[in-house]
């Protein structure tokens, strides 16, 4: 008898979670732009509410189109289940709110998306949840920051904007030694480049706005449960291991085993916080996921070409991309991200703030905006935009030099992108 063969990744991007629509035989996933679903009779209604039968009740909690996206991303990540959320921020909040309450503590990489930093540094303390930020390159820094009340370790596969790579296996070991889960924001790499569960992470989320959807047309997030963490053995997560008054005394670990976290996140978090995804958004993201392998391959190929060009350019001070030999995480990236380090990186243009501004304004194919992960190439110069109020010293403290330019490489012909950058770099150096 032949050995077992799992359905492969590229096939899952097209098929996972969906069969031809049973109602219409439509091949594509239909947009169920629907709020609620008819019960067969009173007992059927009660049995769905009481988790005896499967099915949809109300689209804030689950929806047939969203369910396809959720199952597909869970399949691609190798998890047990997922929840689609209104944004990546909503996915991060859902993870945290499912695991902990006031008095808890998080240890986070300091190199994270600004929105995530705002949530952890400024907003959650108001709700009694504190965060310590540490150097993502130092697993021992995570260890040293752990307190008795710590409930989560958090990092991004590739940081923003200097592309710091988190040593997921090492940080996961630290987390597990302390009975804690590791949550990874895998937005920049997608499951095509990195599958954090295989490296030891326990929970993953994406801003699906970026590479998963890939076309800059929607806002959305996905939270995925790896099903690997032993909540019972940890003893630190009463939301998962003790009877929940909000669901008739349900003990999620007792009843759902490896799916305890994602089930609580849906039964409580989706129900009560309500940050659900629109079914039309889920449909758009699904279209993107169907071409994820093709797009990511091209994103990475174009990025490598541009990085090579910039490294050799006289108007460029430095390029921060882990595949460049002098990047501090070069060896780590080779080990964890052999297929590529994504398509977002930064470089320093000679001439500081003024040159950076000139470069941005001279670019024609690269769009100047605050997003990444579009099919079109994007660029931003923090010193003259998002961080324009900071002086040079404050910028350096934030890890952003005056000449730093962040690029998100798209799917255009690489020659055109290189020529656009070449023209803009020349313009940046003119007095």
């Amino acid at each position: 008898m032949a050995g077992p063969k799992y359905i492969r990744f590229d096939t899952l991007t097209l098929h996972a979670g969906q069969h031809p629509d049973p109602a219409t035989r439509a091949r594509a996933t239909p947009i169920y732009q629907t709020a609620s679903y008819v019960f067969r009779d009173a007992d059927h209604a009660a049995s769905i509410f009481n988790i005896e039968r499967t099915g949809h009740v109300y689209s804030r909690i689950s929806n047939p189109t969203n369910a396809v996206l959720e199952e597909r991303v869970a399949a691609l990540e190798g998890g047990v289940g997922a929840i689609a959320t209104a944004s990546g921020q909503a996915a991060l909040h859902l993870a945290i709110a499912t695991l902990m309450g006031a008095g808890a503590h998080i240890v986070s990489s300091q190199s994270i998306y600004g929105g995530s930093h705002n949530l952890l540094a400024y907003t959650l303390p108001r709700f009694g949840i504190e965060t310590t930020f540490v150097d993502p390159r130092d697993p021992d820094a995570f260890r040293r920051a752990i307190r008795p009340e710590t409930r989560l370790l958090f990092g991004e596969t590739v940081g923003n904007p200097r592309c710091e790579v988190v040593d997921i296996p090492a940080v996961a070991d630290v987390a597990h030694e302390h009975g804690l889960p590791l949550l990874i924001d895998s937005t920049f790499t997608t499951p095509y480049l990195c599958r954090p569960f295989e490296l030891g992470a326990d929970l993953v989320f994406h801003s699906a706005t970026k590479f998963l959807s890939g076309h800059g047309i929607v806002i959305g997030g996905v939270l995925v449960d790896g099903g690997t963490f032993d909540w019972e053995a940890s003893g630190k997560f009463p939301t998962l291991t003790e009877p929940y008054g909000g669901f008739h005394g349900l003990d999620f670990v007792e009843e759902f085993g490896p799916a305890a976290f994602i089930t609580r996140a849906r039964k409580e978090g989706a129900r009560d916080f309500g940050a659900c995804m629109s079914p039309t958004t889920a449909f758009h993201i699904l279209q993107g996921v169907e071409t994820l392998p093709l797009r990511m391959e091209r994103h990475v190929a174009n990025t490598r070409r541009i990085v090579e060009y910039l490294c050799a350019h006289e108007a460029v001070d430095w390029v921060s991309y882990p595949e460049v030999a002098d990047h501090p995480d070069h060896a780590l990236a080779k080990r964890l991200l052999p297929k590529g380090c994504g398509a977002v990186f930064s470089f320093g243009v000679k001439g500081g703030r003024q040159a950076g501004q000139k470069l941005i304004e001279a670019l024609e194919l690269f769009s100047h905006l605050a997003n990444v992960g579009d099919a079109k190439s994007l660029v931003i110069h923090p010193a003259s935009t998002t961080h324009h109020r900071m002086d040079a010293e404050a910028l350096e403290a934030a890890g952003i030099s005056e000449g730093l330019v962040r690029v998100s490489v798209g799917l255009e012909d690489a020659d055109d992108l290189v020529e656009d950058l070449g023209r803009a770099l020349r313009a940046s150096q003119k007095g």
Partner: protein, 262 residues
């Protein structure tokens, strides 16, 4: 609920309800390497409909400590002692895969304890592939892979879970990966060694129902003929398109069939 069976702690899920001696009981027995969580949905249903439910963790599985039991016969005897410990005189016995053999063995040898028999994803004999047995003996992850991939119909390997947002293949992998070393091998070995199923079926006197998966390649529907032919009045429900993991692939179809046992 916590039980003590043979002087050792054991666990059974009761859907958060206290057992009531005045009610009929439904007892669920999981398959190889699994635990009580595979029964959460039907157990909750029967508990809300006035039945005592007892979804046991066999020794060495889920929350029941100790070494796994070496044979179907030993599991059957253990189950009867677990019923004793729980104060359940008589019950409908519902088993999946290996658990279906345990239920059959109890129904045949302890007819006074069995008011109905339901065998889900079943066959007698339940021969186990040598490669799978060998991998399980070596505690090789390949055994988990085989049980997972072969456990689902090709259709279900692409998903389409009736439970929104859940990836069935991932769920089964994680559950099997939790089995302690040696447990999956002991279970599969017990299934493989159980050769008296047809004779035991002939001794069953209670109402019996088989719930089979049309696309089950681990216990193909034809493998249940030996049971159906030997149990008087045996009914068969075949779920179209389902593989061996019927409880994951078609939970509502399984429940609809189970409801008929009352």
């Amino acid at each position: 609920m916590e039980l003590t069976v043979d002087g050792r702690a054991a666990y059974a899920f009761t859907a958060a309800k206290a057992l009531d001696p005045a009610q009929d009981s439904v007892v669920f027995v999981h398959g190889a390497g699994m635990d009580h969580t595979v029964w959460t949905l039907p157990a909750r249903y029967f508990a809300r409909h006035g039945r005592n439910v007892l979804a046991v963790d066999l020794p060495g599985h889920g929350r029941s400590p100790g070494p796994p039991l070496p044979s179907i016969e030993a599991m059957a005897d253990w189950l009867v002692r677990a019923l004793d410990a729980a104060g359940i005189e008589r019950a409908a016995l519902v088993g999946h895969s290996m658990g279906s053999l345990v239920a059959l063995e109890v129904a045949a040898r302890y007819p006074e304890r069995t008011r109905a028999l339901v065998m889900i994803g079943t066959a007698v004999p339940m021969a186990v592939n040598d490669v799978l047995l060998g991998s399980a003996e070596a505690n090789d992850h390949a055994a988990v892979d085989m049980l997972t991939v072969w456990g689902y119909s090709r259709h279900a390997q692409l998903g389409g879970n009736e439970t929104p947002g859940m990836w069935m293949v991932g769920g089964t992998l994680r559950l099997l990966e939790r089995a302690a070393p040696g447990v999956i091998h002991a279970d599969l070995n017990a299934c493989n060694a159980y050769r008296d199923g047809a004779e035991r079926a002939a001794a069953v006197t209670c109402p019996a129902l088989l719930i089979l998966g049309e696309k089950d390649i681990m216990t193909p529907p034809r493998g249940a003929r030996n049971i159906a032919a030997n149990v008087a009045g045996c009914r068969i429900t075949t779920l179209k398109g389902s593989g061996h993991a019927l409880l994951s692939e078609q939970p509502d179809g399984v429940l609809d069939a189970l409801i008929s046992i009352g």
